[in-house]
């Protein structure tokens, strides 16, 4: 399971489509002790919500009524599946992002698969060791990726990116190819169900994206036969063997570990490009950004690509913004908690970058990505290209419940510096420039090209 999928579960897990987080839903009747533990977990989750939710309009009676709607059902739940269903119904009732329950064994398997993939920097292994590792991978559920990124465009799964030197690249997969089947199975029915469930919701694209990656990726060392179409009469069928993600996973407490990818280059003599997959691993991301900026100082503009970036630490967003702003007292936005309001103040660096800034977004840009994009635009510092973001913008925390389940919950509302609510709405680009299959097949990235043109034009 890739870290994108983990992030997506955390963001949208409460919004109904969370089957990937429910692998351990079981119908087995629980012992009295386990049922009591589940009740204790419900109480812990409820108390956490009650103590942290920022809704100042809800009356005490309304909160009590809500509790009474669910507590008896938890007490009666004889199976883990029943308990989880009730708890998820509770958090779904808020219709807000960043509410998620990951069952304890799924959470443990996520951590274990990342731990197994975190093989360290010793590259000198013998062939026998590598073979043994590959043989073991399937048993351990080693985290694996195909190396391709996809988006669902007009109901079709389209390859939008292929990592160099990845398994997908080595089998010749190209951007713009449509994924028809994986091991003979189509995703059409699932995509239809998702589209129906999330119709008109900004998280639709993120949820489709997650489903598509779930379908394609697999444990490292395992192989999948994938059939593609390239809009010609030629279909391509390749066998992709999943590999471990590169790099060292980022760990932050009990938060599921994640691999943060960073890409930086000059795409033309006057345009710098910086892309990163999460607002996590702050030391590495901030140092990489500072170094990239140094190399882009003479550029007319820079493009910051947060497409597919599921968010992370809001302070990383303000930190990067600090390199792009000269003004004190600029804020990206405001977090509204139960008791107070906290402004996300940008601390300008002494030598900020003063050229043009373009931010690329899409439907899988979420949370801190949205705060970042909207915030920079609101202070007049960036122009946004791409397509609408996921509208999943609530500051959140996490904890383990008594039964070991991982509980992710929002503790504050968020409004932009102009007072706009982003949750459930998303950030709209200044220039709508989404991917299309035809453009991708022709080697064109619409948002990137639009941003580059804007920077290069006076």
């Amino acid at each position: 399971m890739t870290n994108f999928k983990i992030t997506a579960i955390l963001l949208v897990g409460a919004l109904g489509f969370s089957c990937a987080a429910g692998a351990s839903d079981t119908e087995e009747t629980l012992s009295a002790e386990l049922r009591a533990l589940n009740v204790e977990s419900f109480e812990a989750a409820w108390t956490t919500i009650r103590e942290n939710h920022w809704d100042r309009e809800k009356t005490e009676d309304e909160w009590t009524e809500l509790y009474q709607d669910y507590e008896p059902r938890i007490v009666e739940a004889e199976t883990y599946a029943a308990y989880l269903t009730v708890l998820r119904e509770l958090i779904n009732s808020f219709e807000q992002s960043h509410f998620s329950i990951i069952s304890s064994d799924v959470y443990e398997s996520i951590v274990a698969s990342v731990d197994a993939a975190d093989t360290g920097e010793d590259a000198e292994t013998s062939e026998a060791d590598d073979a043994a590792e590959s043989d073991d991978a399937e048993e351990e559920g080693l985290l694996g990726i195909s190396g391709m990124d996809v988006r669902v465009l007009d109901g079709r799964v389209i390859v939008t990116g292929v990592q160099p030197n990845s398994a997908a690249a080595e089998t010749g997969v190209k951007r713009g190819w449509e994924v028809l089947t994986v091991d003979g199975e189509s995703l059409d029915e699932t995509l239809s169900e998702i589209s129906e469930s999330f119709e008109d919701k900004p998280v639709l694209e993120l949820t489709l994206h997650r489903a598509a990656l779930n379908w394609i990726d697999g444990d490292a060392g395992t192989s999948k036969t994938i059939e593609f179409s390239d809009q010609t009469e030629i279909d391509h069928t390749v066998t992709v063997t999943m590999t471990e993600p590169e790099g060292t996973p980022y760990r932050l407490g009990i938060f599921p570990p994640a691999f943060v990818t960073i890409e930086t280059e000059k795409i033309s003599p006057t345009v710098g490009y910086f892309a990163f997959s999460l607002f996590l691993d702050p030391l590495r991301v901030m140092q990489s950004f500072e170094k990239a900026l140094d190399s882009f100082r003479e550029c007319d503009g820079i493009i910051i690509d947060v497409r597919g970036n599921g968010g992370g630490l809001p302070l990383v967003a303000t930190g990067i913004a600090g390199w792009l702003s000269e003004e004190k007292k600029h804020i990206l936005g405001t977090m509204i908690t139960k008791d107070t309001e906290l402004k996300m103040v940008i601390n300008p660096r002494l030598n900020p970058y003063r050229g043009k800034v373009a931010v690329l977004i899409d439907g899988s840009s979420a949370s801190a990505s949205e705060i970042f994009a909207a915030g920079l635009r609101d202070i007049g510092r960036a122009r946004i290209f791409g397509s609408r973001t996921a509208g999943a913008v609530l500051p959140a925390r996490f904890k383990r419940l008594p039964n070991g389940d991982f509980f992710y919950y929002p503790f504050a509302n968020y409004v932009s510096s102009k007072g706009d609510r982003l949750e459930g709405v998303g950030v709209y680009p200044d220039e709508h420039s989404p991917h299309t299959q035809t453009d991708l097949l022709n080697g064109r990235d619409n948002a990137l090209e639009a941003a580059r043109l804007w920077i290069e034009t006076d």
Binding site: L252, F255, P282, V345
Partner: protein
């Protein structure tokens, strides 16, 4: 934070609690004075010119643990270094005149306004600071804190806001402190429960503290208090980044 993530700056108040107890106010004298005596007495407090302390911290429930090291020197110099795996090192420093922070995410910054005033206050461990900052000390009556009978004492300050301390009726020591502080992000109320005390240099000092800020609990366990420790000469000197910010601020 984080929040962040959801992630907030931890208010480095624990290290000033010893100072707070020494800052007896004339109003509510009996309670506060008793607290001073219970914690070792004014003479013992005045005998300490510097402090070095270490603590282990945990952001409760999130599995985030880290360490804190703090250096203090009279009258109001303090340097706190917090190390959080996955976040990095966060430094907060007062040289008695300026207050700054270096954060791996947001970079170096100078504190200003009420936030600066508060941190200058928090950095003091001189008894005279009570008279300087608090206009009035009022015993607001008795309250139980987790079953422990306490006096609730409010110290009123127009400069840094009110600080409420609940002093144990039994031991005289501070059991809980609550204050509302101005941070760069906004107004934050911080509650600190002193759950356990230890002794160093003839003084009773908080060993275990549970801080609650915006619903998030942070546990701090002090593993070392070294009174009259030798402080490195340049401990409170601004870094190059901070010096540059100070120079820039002077030009503005």
């Amino acid at each position: 934070m984080n929040a962040k993530n959801f992630f907030m700056m931890v208010a480095m108040l624990a290290l000033t609690l010893g100072a707070a107890q020494a800052q007896a106010a004339p109003t509510g004298d009996e309670i506060v004075q008793r607290s001073i005596e219970a914690s070792g007495g004014e003479a013992a407090q005045n005998a300490v010119k510097t402090w070095y302390s270490e603590a282990e911290m945990e952001i409760v429930g999130m599995g985030l643990t880290g360490t804190i090291q703090a250096w203090q020197s009279r009258p109001n110099k303090s340097y706190t270094l917090m190390k959080l795996p996955g976040i990095g090192e966060i430094i907060q420093c007062s040289d008695g005149t300026n207050v700054w922070e270096v954060n791996p995410m947001t970079g170096p910054r100078l504190y200003e306004g009420k936030e600066k005033e508060f941190m200058l206050f928090s950095s003091r461990f001189d008894a005279s600071s009570v008279e300087e900052f608090f206009d009035e000390v009022v015993n607001e009556g008795e309250e139980d804190i987790d079953g422990e009978a306490c006096y609730k004492v409010r110290m009123k300050s127009p400069a840094v806001g009110d600080m409420i301390t609940w002093f144990s009726k039994d031991s005289g020591l501070g059991r809980r402190t609550e204050m509302t502080m101005e941070s760069q992000m906004g107004t934050i109320t911080v509650q600190m429960d002193m759950l356990e005390y230890t002794e160093a240099n003839g003084l009773k000092l908080p060993k275990k503290i549970l801080q609650t800020t915006m619903g998030q609990k942070i546990s701090m366990v002090f593993t070392k208090y070294d009174g009259n420790a030798e402080i490195p000469a340049d401990r409170f000197e601004p870094t190059a980044d901070i010096k540059a910010l100070l120079e820039n601020a002077e030009k503005e």
